[in-house]
């Protein structure tokens, strides 16, 4: 059992009985959902989730308004009707993404993953992935299907993804076990082993990090013309390990069909001014994410509180 596992187990024992029971109910519901999705035809699952997304878009008024505002303020469009359409599509994408991610965990294997994922990576990135000794630092975001991205990329090269553990320890353990695969491991954001991230890269694996969440201890960079606090971990990992950076994502092209895409590998030299270097790297990566979201606005998660 890893140290991250130990921390989850400790949380279970320290919960008060009512919270613990509620957490367990959520866990059972999740398990039931997994089972149902596993036996249900794909088209039916997606149809149900599309319907749920429409209901959610109607009912969750605050979230809907917030999503539309984010689309408008990002200058994706200045037409409120078009912004509403994009926001509704983003709601649908999110639920479809979760559904297909759960289905993919059961149905995608080393033998058949290429039937579902078309690989369209930059040629130099392909070379990096094919070199067993070469670590790769992947920056990605809440666009398309990040779970499929991790699962598909791990078929090419062992991948560790940094994630934020869920507050529900049962749920967290279940999700983590379910999300992990043969070559896919999740690392808690604050892992007990300080060398874990670095070791992943020096062992020739992929380390994947989402960079489009509000990072309380990050720095402000420009994202769609507005300052957004962004993690500096990727920049620091690059400056310390000198492992190439890649912006990658999986865009949805059809039911359980995705295309894995990436930009070219990026490397930055130290200038002697750490603050500037970290800012330049973080801004470059964030601009890369912005370009992707601009190209696929219906597949970007506009609803999260990116700008605080």
């Amino acid at each position: 059992m890893s140290e991250a596992d130990s921390s989850v187990r400790q949380d279970q024992t320290t919960l008060n009985p009512v919270v613990k029971a509620w957490c367990y109910v959520q866990y059972l519901l999740f398990r039931a959902l997994l089972f149902v999705l596993g036996v249900m035809p794909l088209g039916v699952s997606l149809g149900i989730m599309s319907g749920l997304a429409r209901v959610a878009f109607l009912v969750l008024r605050t979230r809907r308004r917030h999503t539309i505002e984010n689309v408008l303020q990002s200058s994706i469009t200045d037409d409120p009707r078009e912004a509403k359409r994009i926001a509704a599509a983003a709601f649908r994408t999110f639920l479809i993404m979760i559904t297909e991610a759960m289905i993919a965990r059961q149905r995608l294997s080393a033998a058949n993953w290429k039937d579902h994922v078309q690989v369209n990576l930059h040629p130099e990135v392909r070379e990096l992935l094919n070199d067993p000794d070469q670590g790769v630092l992947v920056a990605t975001a809440h666009v398309g299907n990040w779970e499929i991205l991790a699962r598909a990329a791990s078929m090419v090269k062992p991948l560790r993804a940094i994630y934020r553990p869920f507050n529900n320890p049962y749920f967290d353990e279940a999700i983590r076990q379910d999300r992990e695969g043969e070559n896919l491991t999740l690392i808690a954001k604050y892992d007990a082993d300080p060398m874990r991230f670095i070791r992943t890269l020096t062992e020739g694996e992929v380390l994947a990090i989402m960079i489009d969440q509000h990072a309380g201890n990050g720095i402000y960079v420009d994202f769609f013309g507005r300052p957004a606090k962004t993690t500096t971990t990727v920049a620091m990992l690059h400056l310390v390990t000198r492992v190439p950076l890649v912006v990658a994502y999986a865009v949805r092209t059809g039911p359980l069909q995705y295309e894995l895409r990436s930009g070219p590998p990026l490397t930055f030299k130290r200038s002697g001014n750490r603050e500037n270097d970290v800012r330049e790297i973080t801004q470059t990566l964030t601009r890369g994410i912005e370009d992707i979201a601009r190209e696929h606005p219906e597949q970007y998660m506009w609803g999260h509180r990116r700008w605080k």
Partner: protein
């Protein structure tokens, strides 16, 4: 920093660097050569700041592959000594 640092000076310089880490609550007086690096209190993020600053302070380029194999402060000092002697 120059290559003519003795072991004691190197240890002092490293202790100063550890003490200057903003997110680290550690009494450097209790850190000895046999102290495990993982016991100093770094997390996955603060260790990056520390490593970055080591390079700046000593004017060297660390071999990260070697660093991940280091267990004790002694290993780090040996590595720095070797780098500075070149």
């Amino acid at each position: 920093m120059t290559a003519d640092l003795g072991r004691d000076e190197l240890r002092t310089a490293l202790a100063e660097l550890i003490a200057s880490q903003p997110d680290l609550e550690v009494d450097v007086k209790v850190i000895e050569e046999t102290t495990k690096i993982e016991d100093i209190g770094f997390d996955s993020i603060s260790i990056l700041d520390f490593m970055y600053e080591i390079e700046g302070k000593f004017g060297i380029e660390l071999a990260v592959r070697d660093l991940v194999e280091m267990v004790q402060v002694k290993d780090l000092l040996d590595h720095l000594e070797g780098k500075l002697a070149k």
